[in-house]
Symmetry: C2
Subunit: 251 residues, 2 copies
């Protein structure tokens, strides 16, 4: 019964983790029981929330830990299954399977669907067996797109790879394209935003503006709502959580 949303794009540094953490925090703050799954070997979601779990997704997949022990509570209404370097071992596990490797994560995370309203998955840059596994686990994709040319070029590449999976896996759909790093002082980001609005009118979200508070919050292990609740960054992620939750009412 949980809505499962993957925050994904192969391009690096466009705000996947910032979005996964602050969207999940925004949903938790508005009363939704939310789980963040960190599927990135960088393990930055835990760091950004100021928690340091000893174990997480790797141990859940290997069976070393049961569901209850792999999850830690990060905030009220907000739980986390941490990623991190040990996930590299899971990629090997996935690659060694003769069949069904792409459903490894979905099988391990199945127990949680009945326990949460939302599962938000933070994904790694690049494209590898873990990326494919996230695509066979979640039902909805949210793509953060930094308003810079290199990032838009990355969007095209990601969508081509995504489409091959979506042709095969009918349980997944592209729901949200979230422009990030909107900088009104400069011309090109606005032009790129206008282009995205033309290309994806039904998917485009209100952009997240460049706001240095978003880059500072993780150094205090705080969400943007804790660190700077009146900042543009907090406004923009509050709006994203509102939009995502509103879509949950009409589903």
């Amino acid at each position: 019964r949980a809505r499962k949303i993957g925050v994904m794009i192969s391009k690096g540094g466009v705000g996947k983790t910032t979005t996964a953490v602050n969207l999940a925090a925004g949903l938790a703050l508005t009363g939704h029981k939310t789980l963040i799954v960190d599927a990135d070997t960088q393990g930055q979601a835990a760091y950004a929330l100021g928690v340091a779990p000893k174990a997480g997704l790797t141990e859940l997949v290997t069976g070393e830990l049961g569901p209850e022990d792999a999850v830690i509570q990060a905030r009220e209404n907000l739980w986390l299954i941490a990623g991190g370097k040990s996930l590299a071992g899971i990629k090997r596990l996935i690659s060694r399977k003769d069949f069904g490797g792409e459903r490894t994560l979905a099988e391990a995370l199945a127990p949680f669907s009945s326990q949460y309203d939302y599962v938000v998955v933070d994904s790694a840059p690049g494209w590898d067996p873990l990326t494919v596994n996230v695509l066979f686990y979640v039902n909805e994709i949210l793509i953060p797109v930094a308003l810079e040319v290199m990032s838009l070029q990355g969007l095209g590449e990601f969508l081509r790879s995504y489409q091959l999976i979506a042709n095969y896996n009918k349980d997944i759909s592209l729901r949200y394209i979230l422009p990030t790093f909107l900088d009104r002082r400069v011309k090109q980001p606005q032009e790129l935003y206008d282009e995205l609005v033309k290309l994806y009118p039904d998917l485009i979200c209100q952009p997240v503006r460049y706001n240095v508070k978003l880059s500072e919050a993780p150094s205090y292990g705080m969400t943007i709502f804790e660190f700077a609740p009146n900042s543009p960054g907090a406004e923009d992620y509050r709006e994203l959580a509102r939009k995502v939750a509103a879509d949950g009412m009409t589903r």
Copy 2:
């Protein structure tokens, strides 16, 4: 006889490609015969240079193309072996080898060492068999570090993984740590820069300042020196090329 420099860090979006392309271009402009090897499935180096080769590193490794045909000339003194999506096949090839998989790239690129003064390798975010291959090919590492907390956390993670390889492979050394996205209007980047200078006094380079020209140049397929030769971005990468070349004189 070529100096082989890998531009690498697992963290996404910190300026690896921007640095690889503009450092290589700066070296070429000062008369050094330079080869860029794009070892990233995103294939953004070719895009940033305004070229669209049909084949490149993948075909070189599989033997489908010989050295001369896998390389294209991008500028005067500047050649490129393109990356791109097909590199995913190379990762599988590497993983299937019983031994020596980590030297796949080194073997394929061996013919070029005598033909160039510099080989600059653009690397993908994350950490996978291709990353390890780059580490067994190059002799020097240049790490771009965006002056933001999430990026510094990524630096720590990358250095731990790098050290394991460096303990085993004595032909590689960490030469340069390049702070990127220095923004003087904001306090935290300067504080993080001061911290990096304390931690790595012998490796730290003059920082690359945030300069929107650097993000715009790729949309014209131009290097920063072509697009905005008097910009802070051009100054900073001109200085980096000068420093790297000067180290080549004293080696």
